[in-house]
Each structure stands twice: as structure tokens, then as C-alpha cells.
């Protein structure tokens, strides 16, 4: 661009004047912002909200924060969706079976003796556990129980080893907890209830205890941003506004 083009034109100056901040009396609530971010608003309402946000620095900053939170939640949700279920894992491993139940059935159907043997083993296991409980454990049954316990421990160890070695088993815990839209809509943000800050409270703790989800703390703070900053716990005795559980239809 040339130096002449760098000079503010009539158009850029006029547009800048159009978007100059306005001292608004009324401000949109969080529900309206959520609806806008989800694309649920009628065009005239959406444009009126856009006009407000373009001229209200406070609401615009709040809107951007919500937008970022929802984007983070959506990305986490997508990552979660990419983790295959156990059925999908079985399908992948077996190549042809679609569900775990089909996989088990496929093992049993062509081999009825397997079913008989499995039933007998299950009966023996029940007796091995039940008899000592009823009659008191003899030395022999105690030994059998110990063998069974050892066997179970071995199997658990093998499973843990498989998971540690990441033998194709996805590590779902790596996805982490994140805010999802359903967390937001189960709460009524338009009719908040007062909450008096207790000693030892912080934003995350309040969200976890009162709303059941610590990930909601940024929204709790946004709703009460006049009380303090997100990096400092709200002062004891301050009255916060917290969303209330939405009654089911």
C-alpha cells in the first residue's frame, strides 16, 4: 500500500465513527450471547446484538471470552469423538465383527462345547466361593480361593501392562475434562440465585460444589466479573450470582 492509502480515508474515518463506543444502558445477557454463538438468533435480533457488541467494549470482551471457551469445548468434544469405543476397537481388531456381543457370540456359536465348559467353570467358581462362605473355609478351599485371587491379580496386571504399552488401546484419560454445550444448557443463566462467598472459596471450587462442574468456573466469573478478577478468589462475604438448575420439561 502507498503512503496515500495509509492516510485514513473518508470511509475508514466514517466507519470508525460509526463503531465508536456507546454508553449503553441495557446489556445483553449471557443466554442471548450463547444463542448468538450457536447461530440460533433471528436475523434482526442477531444484527441488533452485533450492533451492541460493536459499540460496547465490556460486552464485546465478554462475548469473545465465551466464543473462545466454546471453541475450546468444541475442539475437546471433537477429540473425544475421535476416540473409538470398545465396540469399534473390537471391530478393528477382529476385522469383521461389529460389536463386543457379536464377537463373543461368534466364539460360542460354532463351538457348543465351549458354552458347556464355560457354564461348568462358572458353576465351579460359584461353588468355590459359596461353600466356604456357608461352611467356613477349609484348608483346601482356602487354597483354591487364593489361587483364584492370584489368577485375577495376574489378569489385572496383564491388562495394565497392555494399557501401559498402548497396544492399540486408546488412552481416554488423555482427552481431559472440558466444558460442553450440554453443561451450559442444563443451567438457567437468566434466573441466577445469590451465593455468599465462604472462607476458602475460589472460582473453581464454587463452580464444582454449587454447579457440579469445576470447568464452569470461567462462566461463573464472567457472570460476576464486577466482583473481582479471575486469578484472585472472590472476597469472603461477597454475594455472587450463580445459575440455577434448569427444571426438566
Amino acid at each position: 500500500m502507498t503512503r496515500e492509502e495509509d492516510r485514513p480515508s473518508f470511509f475508514s474515518k466514517t466507519i470508525e465513527g460509526e463503531a465508536t463506543p456507546i454508553d449503553h444502558v441495557d446489556h445483553p445477557d449471557l443466554t442471548l450471547m450463547f444463542s448468538s454463538l450457536e447461530g440460533d438468533l433471528a436475523p434482526d435480533v442477531r444484527s441488533a446484538l452485533a450492533a451492541h457488541l460493536a459499540t460496547c467494549t465490556t460486552c464485546h470482551a465478554r462475548y469473545r471470552e465465551l466464543e473462545r471457551r466454546l471453541q475450546d469445548a468444541a475442539e475437546a468434544h471433537d477429540a473425544r469423538a475421535r476416540v473409538p469405543s470398545f465396540d469399534a476397537y473390537v471391530h478393528e481388531q477382529s476385522g469383521t465383527r461389529t460389536t463386543m456381543s457379536e464377537w463373543i457370540r461368534s466364539l460360542l456359536e460354532p463351538r457348543p462345547y465351549v458354552l458347556v465348559a464355560a457354564s461348568a467353570a462358572a458353576l465351579a467358581l460359584v461353588l468355590a466361593v459359596a461353600i466356604p462362605l456357608v461352611r467356613g473355609p477349609s484348608l483346601r478351599t482356602s487354597g483354591q480361593i487364593e489361587l483364584l485371587n492370584n489368577r485375577i491379580s495376574d489378569l489385572q496386571s496383564q491388562l495394565i501392562s497392555l494399557a501401559d504399552l498402548n497396544h492399540g488401546i486408546p488412552n481416554q484419560s488423555s482427552v481431559g475434562n472440558a466444558l460442553v454445550v450440554s453443561d451450559l444448557t442444563r443451567l438457567d443463566w437468566e434466573r441466577p440465585a445469590p451465593y455468599a462467598v465462604q472462607p476458602g472459596d475460589n472460582w473453581e471450587g464454587i463452580a464444582e460444589r454449587e454447579l457440579g462442574d469445576a470447568d464452569l468456573w470461567p462462566l461463573v466469573w464472567l457472570l460476576n466479573r464486577d466482583i473481582g478478577t479471575p486469578d484472585v478468589a472472590p472476597p469472603v462475604g461477597a454475594t455472587l450470582e450463580l445459575p440455577t438448575p434448569r427444571s426438566s420439561p
Binding site: T14, I15, G17, S47, A54
Partner: protein, 156 residues
């Protein structure tokens, strides 16, 4: 800062233009009519620029309409406090309104890309400004019956 319901109404129409949605000339005509002759130069400029933009959006060819959207996005993105995501993808802004554009400080190629135009067409802004300047000058004379500001006349 002061309350300005007329400006808010205009901004709602600006938002629709930025999104590429049709705006009826009558909607803006009423707003301009409410701007009295003794209104501030900024108020009159805002009304006339909106009127000129709506006329172009309604009557110009497809390329000019696209350039208008890009220009409006470019200008509005340069208002407000700068708040730009580190990984901004212009293509993701195809449906963006004012609430998303304000503070982004888009470059002209980014603004063009966001409306599906050629990001390397640097002369598009010049052409659009020329067309818009002519429209606004005519509207100014017709609505206010006075000579338009020099900035609207200087390159005609």
C-alpha cells in the same frame, strides 16, 4: 460516549451488509430522514455512507458487491480494541458479522479472502472507493441539498 439509538439502528444494517444479506433501501431511508440538517458531520456522513453502500449492494454487479463486503469488513475490523486470535483463518469468517470482525484488524488480502475474492487484487479497494464516493456525493446533494464534504469530491 453518548447514547445513540440512530447509530445503533444503522449498525444493525451495517451488520447485514457485512454478512451479505439484502437490506431494503426504505429501512435506511427512514434513518437518513431522521438525521436533521443540523446533525453533526459524523452523523450525516454515517447515514450517507450507509445509504450509498445499500445502493451499491442492491444495484451494482456481483464483483462490486463482493468488493463492498470486503471493504466493509476491512474498515470495521480496524475499529475497537485489537483482539485477534493467533490462528485466524480468513475463510472461517465467511459468515462473520460485526461482533466477530471488530478488533480483528484484517489486512486487505484477508478481507478479500473472507468473501471469496482474489486476495491479490489490491486495486479492488480503490475501485470500490471511487464508486462509493460518487454514490455518496449524489446522495448527499439529494438528501441534504448542500455541497458534499471535500473528501467526497476530491477525486471525482
Amino acid at each position: 460516549m453518548s447514547s445513540s439509538p440512530l447509530r445503533e439502528d444503522r449498525l444493525a444494517l451495517w451488520d447485514r451488509l457485512v454478512r451479505g444479506e439484502p437490506v431494503a433501501l426504505e429501512d435506511c431511508g427512514e434513518l437518513v430522514t431522521q438525521v436533521s440538517h443540523d446533525a453533526s458531520p459524523e452523523e450525516r456522513a454515517g447515514s450517507i455512507l450507509l445509504l450509498g453502500s445499500i445502493r451499491i449492494a442492491a444495484e451494482a454487479n456481483r464483483a462490486t458487491r463482493r468488493n463492498l463486503r470486503a471493504a466493509l469488513r476491512y474498515w470495521f475490523s480496524h475499529t475497537g480494541t485489537k483482539d485477534r486470535p493467533p490462528k485466524l483463518l480468513p475463510r472461517s469468517l465467511s459468515d462473520a458479522g460485526l461482533e466477530q470482525l471488530v478488533g480483528l484488524y484484517l489486512s486487505w488480502p484477508e478481507a478479500m479472502e473472507s468473501v471469496g475474492g482474489n486476495p491479490k487484487d489490491y486495486t479492488a479497494l480503490k475501485r470500490l472507493e471511487s464508486a462509493l464516493r460518487a454514490r455518496c456525493a449524489d446522495e448527499w446533494r439529494e438528501r441534504f441539498g448542500s455541497t458534499p464534504p471535500d473528501e467526497l469530491l476530491e477525486r471525482r
